[in-house]
């Protein structure tokens, strides 16, 4: 990634225009050509420096529901409980973390009621408490790249 790539990514944080030739519009503001903008984005995506480029949807506003859940899993049961938690398709990400609450996972469901159902099933099947920590407010910012 070079300085021009970083300039391009930072410029895209300011918003991507919804018009017929949006890459050309971005290119104009950066003194690049349309082809160069497209080629740079393609290269950054190929090299996995960017995980994606496009509209970023707010899943909650689209009617889905999310939460972050945490469990304190006894060390000797960790693998067994991991298997149970991961067996739920609604569990998208699951991380071991260095805390008494040592298992942290994201649950995503199509309906808001689905969250409670999944968490109570996990509780029943593991016999362990599950803390439900839904996002209540977001203080939203982009990670800025040093130019």
């Amino acid at each position: 990634m070079d300085a021009r790539d970083r300039e391009l990514i930072n410029a895209l944080h300011g918003g991507f225009p919804v018009e017929e030739r949006p890459y050309a519009a971005v290119a104009g503001s950066l003194g690049m050509t349309e082809d160069e903008v497209i080629a740079r984005l393609a290269r950054l995506l190929d090299a996995r420096m960017l995980t994606r480029f496009g509209p970023l949807y707010d899943a909650v506003r689209l009617g889905g529901a999310f939460t972050l859940a945490a469990m304190a899993v006894p060390h000797e049961r960790f693998d067994e409980v991991t298997e149970i938690v991961n067996s739920f398709p609604e569990v998208a990400h699951n991380y071991a973390r260095n805390h008494d609450l040592n298992m942290w996972f994201v649950v995503a469901t199509e309906r808001p009621e689905g969250i409670g159902e999944v968490l109570s099933q996990i509780k029943d099947r593991t016999g362990l408490d599950v803390l439900n920590l839904p996002k209540e407010e977001e203080y939203f910012l982009e990670l800025r790249l040093p130019a």
């Binding site: 496009g54 689209l62 260095n98 990670l143």
Partner: protein, 169 residues
């Protein structure tokens, strides 16, 4: 610039909107006329796609159109989930303060679950190494001053599962 987003409302999307979501959630075509390519896939006119995308931006169904950097590939190889116990009536102020820092990618208010979990503010902190994340967290603590009634930082020790989130389609 920081802004606070409410996340409780649901945008009303019709089936055409949902097809646009499905056609673009993996990414926007890298084509000089990307909305035209989306329109072909969805089966409506390009102007109709652009009108609907603008409306989804206005309602917040689309947060923004842009690039998602891969923090790890960009050298931010360490990340820690910092968690803070701040007074409930000042959590917004604290969140905007630490959410504005360059090395913080996500900052959320979440409920406390006493006695196990006294923290009500989460901030994901990125650094090139774990010591850098720890230093960043100390910096955040000094910024928050008396608002910080206790904090810790949790590092991930293992990825147990990671699948993409799918919204529609």
């Amino acid at each position: 610039m920081s802004q606070t987003l409410k996340t409780t409302e649901t945008a009303v999307l019709d089936p055409v909107d949902r097809r646009i979501v499905a056609a673009t959630q993996a990414g926007l075509p890298l084509d000089p006329r990307p909305w035209h390519r989306v329109a072909e896939q969805v089966g409506v006119a390009p102007d109709e796609v652009m009108r609907r995308v603008r409306r989804m931006l206005e309602t917040g169904a689309i947060r923004r159109i842009g690039a998602v950097p891969n923090h790890y590939a960009l050298g931010w190889k360490a990340n820690g989930m910092s968690v803070w116990d701040v007074p409930d009536e000042r959590v917004g102020e604290a969140g905007r303060m630490i959410g504005a820092l360059d090395f913080v990618s996500h900052c959320y208010r979440r409920p406390r679950r006493p006695p196990d979990w006294p923290y009500n503010l989460f901030a994901m902190v990125h650094g090139q190494a774990r010591w850098e994340v720890e230093e960043a967290v100390s910096h955040m603590a000094s910024l928050l001053g008396p608002l910080d009634r206790g904090h810790t930082v949790l590092f991930s020790t293992k990825i147990l599962k990671k699948t993409g989130l799918r919204i529609a389609g």
